[in-house]
C-alpha cells in the first residue's frame, strides 16, 4: 500500500483526522493532483484549527511561489496566485496577440478530473483566429455559426433565430480541428477545457458518468468557457454499431448534460471534433446537441504557407526557399503531413552530412524531394467521405464537404 492509499484509508476511517488530511493534501499536490489536494487541505481546515490553518497557508504559499518562479524563468506571465488563476491554453504556435483572463479557481468534488484542473493545464498561452493562417471561409463560418450567436444572443432572439447547441468540427486528421477550437475559444474570450475519452472513462461502475458530470461542472464554474471534446466519436460512438451496451449510460449522460446547457445563461459552448462523423451516434446530431456541423478542410494555400513558415522557422535554411512554391506543391496536405515533409527533408540532409562530413543548409530541392516522396494523408479521408455522400444519395449533413469535393477533386 502506498502512502496516499494509507492516508486515504486513515481519513476514511476518521474524517476528523485533520493531520491525515493535511498530509494527504501534501502527497496529492506533489503528484500534481491539484483538485483533490485542495479538497484534502479544505478538509484539514474543517475543524477551524489555527495551527493547521497556518500550516496549510505556509505550505501552499511555498508551492505556488515556486511555480511562479518557474513561470518567470520561462519568460512567461505569472500564471497563478492563491485566489485566482489566469487560465490560458497551451500551444506550440506563435502568439502575437496573447489574450489572457483571470478566472476563479473552483474546487469540484469528484475523483478523476485531475487532467482538467491539474497544474499542467495552466500554461500561459492563448490563440485567436489571427494565429490561424488562411482558411478564411472556415473562419467566416465559425464566426457566423458560433461566435456571433455566443457573443450576441440578443440579436438572434430578436429575429427568432435559435441559438445554443454544440458544434461538431469534422474533417481529415491532422488538419487543425483542435487548433480551430482553441482559436474559437480565444476569439470569444473563454476558457478552453479540452476533454478526451481517457479523461472520462473509468473502470469502476458509474464513475465514468460522474467524471463526465464533473467536467461539465468545472466548465460551468469557470465560465465563459469552451468545453472541447476531442475524438467525440469515441465518447458518443454510434449505439447501432457498438458491440456492447457498456457505453450506453455514458452516452445517455452526455446527452443529458448537453441538453441541460443554456448557452445564453451558462456561457458555456460545447465543441466536439472528429475524423469520423459517421461514427457519432445520431442522437448527438439532433437539435440542442451537436446540431451545427462544421467541416474543417485540409489547409488552403495561405494556410500551408503559414504552416511551412512556422515549422521551418527554427531550421537552418538556404536562401532559395520559396514558401509559395512549397504551398503550391502540397495541395491536400494536412498540417501534420507538412510537418512530416519537413522532418523527412531534415533527416535526408542530416544523413547526407553524416555520410559526407560536409555540413550544409536545408535547401528547396530537399523539401521538394521530400514532397515527392510523400502523399497527403487526407486523400483517403476525402475519398471515403466522397463515397459516403455518393451512397447516401444526398449531401444532407455533409453539404459543405460535397461542395469542397466538387470544387477541388472533380
Amino acid at each position: 500500500m502506498d502512502r496516499i492509499e494509507l492516508l486515504q484509508s486513515m481519513v476514511e476511517k476518521d474524517k476528523s483526522n485533520i493531520q491525515a488530511w493535511y498530509m494527504l493534501g501534501e502527497e496529492l499536490l506533489q503528484q500534481e493532483n491539484l483538485r483533490e489536494a485542495l479538497y484534502a487541505f479544505s478538509m484539514a481546515l474543517a475543524e477551524n484549527d489555527y495551527t493547521m490553518e497556518q500550516n496549510v497557508i505556509a505550505y501552499l504559499s511555498k508551492v505556488f511561489s515556486s511555480l511562479e518562479g518557474q513561470s518567470r524563468n520561462t519568460d512567461e506571465e505569472n500564471a497563478y496566485n492563491l485566489a485566482s488563476v489566469r487560465h490560458v491554453e497551451d500551444d506550440d504556435q506563435p502568439n502575437p496577440d496573447e489574450v489572457e483572463k483571470t478566472v476563479e479557481l473552483t474546487v469540484i468534488h469528484g475523483k478523476k478530473t485531475d487532467n482538467i484542473s491539474s497544474l499542467k493545464q495552466y500554461q500561459p498561452k492563448t490563440v485567436t483566429f489571427q494565429d490561424v493562417g488562411g482558411l478564411d471561409s472556415l473562419k467566416k463560418t465559425i464566426n457566423m455559426k458560433i461566435i456571433k450567436p455566443f457573443m450576441d444572443p440578443g440579436l438572434f432572439t430578436k429575429f427568432r433565430k435559435k441559438t445554443g447547441g454544440g458544434i461538431l468540427l469534422f474533417g481529415p486528421p491532422g488538419c487543425g480541428k483542435t487548433f480551430i477550437a482553441k482559436a474559437t475559444a480565444g476569439e470569444i474570450g473563454a476558457n478552453f477545457f479540452p476533454v478526451h475519452i481517457s479523461d472520462i472513462l473509468d473502470p469502476f461502475f458509474g464513475q465514468s458518468e460522474r467524471n463526465l458530470h464533473d467536467v461539465f461542472k468545472t466548465a460551468r464554474a469557470n465560465r465563459p468557457s469552451v468545453l472541447f471534446f476531442d475524438e467525440v466519436d469515441t465518447l458518443g460512438y454510434s449505439r447501432s454499431k457498438a458491440n456492447s451496451d457498456i457505453m450506453r449510460p455514458l452516452i445517455d449522460s452526455m446527452l443529458t448534460e448537453m441538453e441541460s446547457i443554456d448557452t445564453g445563461t451558462d456561457n458555456l459552448l460545447i465543441i466536439g471534433a472528429t475524423n469520423m462523423p459517421w461514427d457519432v451516434d445520431s442522437a448527438f446530431k439532433r437539435p440542442g446537441r451537436f446540431d451545427k456541423l462544421v467541416f474543417v478542410p485540409p489547409p488552403d494555400m495561405e494556410a500551408r504557407q503559414t504552416i511551412f513558415q512556422l515549422k521551418l522557422k527554427e531550421k537552418p535554411l538556404s536562401s532559395d526557399i520559396s514558401l509559395e512554391i512549397l504551398a503550391t506543391k502540397t495541395e491536400y496536405y494536412s498540417g501534420a503531413d507538412i510537418e512530416n515533409v519537413i522532418e523527412l527533408a531534415t533527416e535526408n540532409v542530416l544523413t547526407e552530412i553524416m555520410e559526407t562530413n560536409q555540413e550544409r543548409l536545408i535547401g528547396m530541392e530537399d523539401l521538394l524531394y521530400a514532397i515527392e516522396e510523400t502523399i497527403p494523408s487526407t486523400l483517403e479521408w476525402l475519398q471515403t467521405i466522397k463515397n459516403y455522400i455518393k451512397y447516401s444519395n444526398q449531401t444532407g449533413l455533409y453539404k459543405e464537404v460535397a461542395k469542397y469535393i466538387n470544387k477541388v477533386l472533380l
Binding site: 473509468d202 458491440n243 471515403t384
Partner: protein, 291 residues
C-alpha cells in the same frame, strides 16, 4: 505501473476493441508491454491487434507467448486455431481447436468454429454435428448462430437459411451484424437489388469498410446499362443456353428455307456475343475512366 493506471488502460483498450478500433488501442497496449513485457493478458491483446491487421503469424506468436506465460489455454488455443484457419493451414487449425476443446468441450464458439472448419475441408456431416453441439451449448450466442447460418447458406438450404437468418437478426449484437446477414442472404439468392440496399445502409454505418465498398461497386458495375445484354443472357440461362437457342433457331430457319432471316439472326447473335465480350472494356473506358 500502479493498479489504477493499469485498470484505466485496460478499460480504454476494452472500449476501443468494442468499437473495432484496434489500431487506436495499440499505443496503450504497447505502453503496457513496456512496463511488463511478459504480461500474458497484454500479449493476448496485442495478438488481437495483429489479427485485426491480418498479420496472422505475428498474432499467433504473441498468443503463443501469452500461453507460455500463463494465459488461459482454452482461449489461447481457440485464437491460435483461428489464425491457422485464416492462413488455410487447416490441419494445424484443427489441432488447435481440438486442444481447446480437450480442456473444455463446452465452448460454444470453439465448437462452431471447428464445425465451420469441417465445412471448409469437406467434412459436412461432422460440420453439422459440431454446429448442432454449439447451438445446444449456447443457443443465444450470435457468433455461433452466424456460423450455422453460413453453413446453411453454403448448402443452399432455403428453409434453414430463413430460420437462422431470423435467429441471427434477433440476437445480433448491433445493426451492422443484422445488415451483413440480410445482405448476404439476398446476395446468395442473386437478388442484387435488395442486397444493394442493405449493403448501402451497411456502408453508411461504416464507410471505412473496404469489403462492403468492393461488393457495392461490383453490384453497381453489373447493374450498369452497358451490361444489360449480359444480364439478359444470364436471365435466360447463360451463354450456353443462348448459344444453343441460337443454333436451334438458325437450323430451324435454314430447314424452313428462310435463309434471309437466318442470316439476320446470325448477325444479331454475333453482334450480341461480341458486345458481351467488349462490355467490361467499354465500362472501364467510359465509366471507370471517367472517375
Amino acid at each position: 505501473m500502479c493498479e489504477e493506471q493499469y485498470a484505466n488502460d485496460r478499460k480504454m483498450i476494452e472500449h476501443y476493441f468494442s468499437m473495432d478500433r484496434y489500431e487506436d488501442a495499440r499505443p496503450i497496449i504497447e505502453n503496457l508491454l513496456l512496463s511488463d513485457p511478459q504480461d500474458p493478458e497484454t500479449l493476448y491483446l496485442m495478438g488481437v491487434v495483429y489479427l485485426s491487421r491480418e498479420q496472422y503469424t505475428e498474432a499467433r506468436e504473441l498468443v503463443q507467448e501469452a500461453l507460455r506465460n500463463g494465459y488461459n489455454p482454452e482461449y489461447a488455443f481457440f485464437f491460435i486455431g483461428l489464425t491457422y484457419q485464416e492462413q488455410k493451414m487447416y490441419a494445424e487449425a484443427e489441432d488447435a481447436y481440438l486442444r481447446s476443446l480437450e480442456i473444455n468441450p463446452n465452448q460454444a464458439n470453439v465448437n462452431a468454429a471447428y464445425g465451420y472448419l469441417m465445412l471448409l475441408t469437406g467434412h459436412d456431416e461432422k460440420a453439422i454435428k459440431l454446429l448442432d453441439e454449439a447451438i445446444r451449448i449456447d443457443p443465444d450466442d450470435s457468433a455461433v448462430n452466424d456460423y450455422v447460418y453460413r453453413f446453411y447458406l453454403a448448402k443452399n438450404d432455403g428453409s434453414n437459411q430463413a430460420q437462422y437468418l431470423q435467429r441471427t437478426m434477433e440476437i445480433a449484437r448491433n445493426e451492422q451484424e443484422k445488415l451483413i446477414n440480410i445482405a448476404v442472404y439476398h446476395l446468395v439468392k442473386e437478388d442484387t437489388k435488395t442486397a444493394e440496399e442493405y449493403l448501402r445502409q451497411l456502408y453508411l454505418l461504416d464507410p471505412t469498410n473496404k469489403h462492403v465498398l468492393e461488393v457495392l461497386e461490383e453490384i453497381n458495375r453489373t447493374n450498369h446499362m452497358l451490361f444489360l445484354p449480359n444480364r439478359l443472357i444470364d436471365k435466360i440461362g447463360g451463354p450456353a443456353v443462348f448459344y444453343i437457342g441460337f443454333i436451334i433457331l438458325v437450323l430451324v430457319l435454314t430447314w424452313a428455307d428462310i435463309n434471309s432471316i437466318a442470316i439476320v439472326i446470325l448477325a444479331l447473335y454475333l453482334i450480341t456475343a461480341g458486345y458481351t465480350w467488349l462490355a467490361p472494356l467499354l465500362y472501364r473506358l467510359f465509366v471507370k475512366g471517367k472517375i
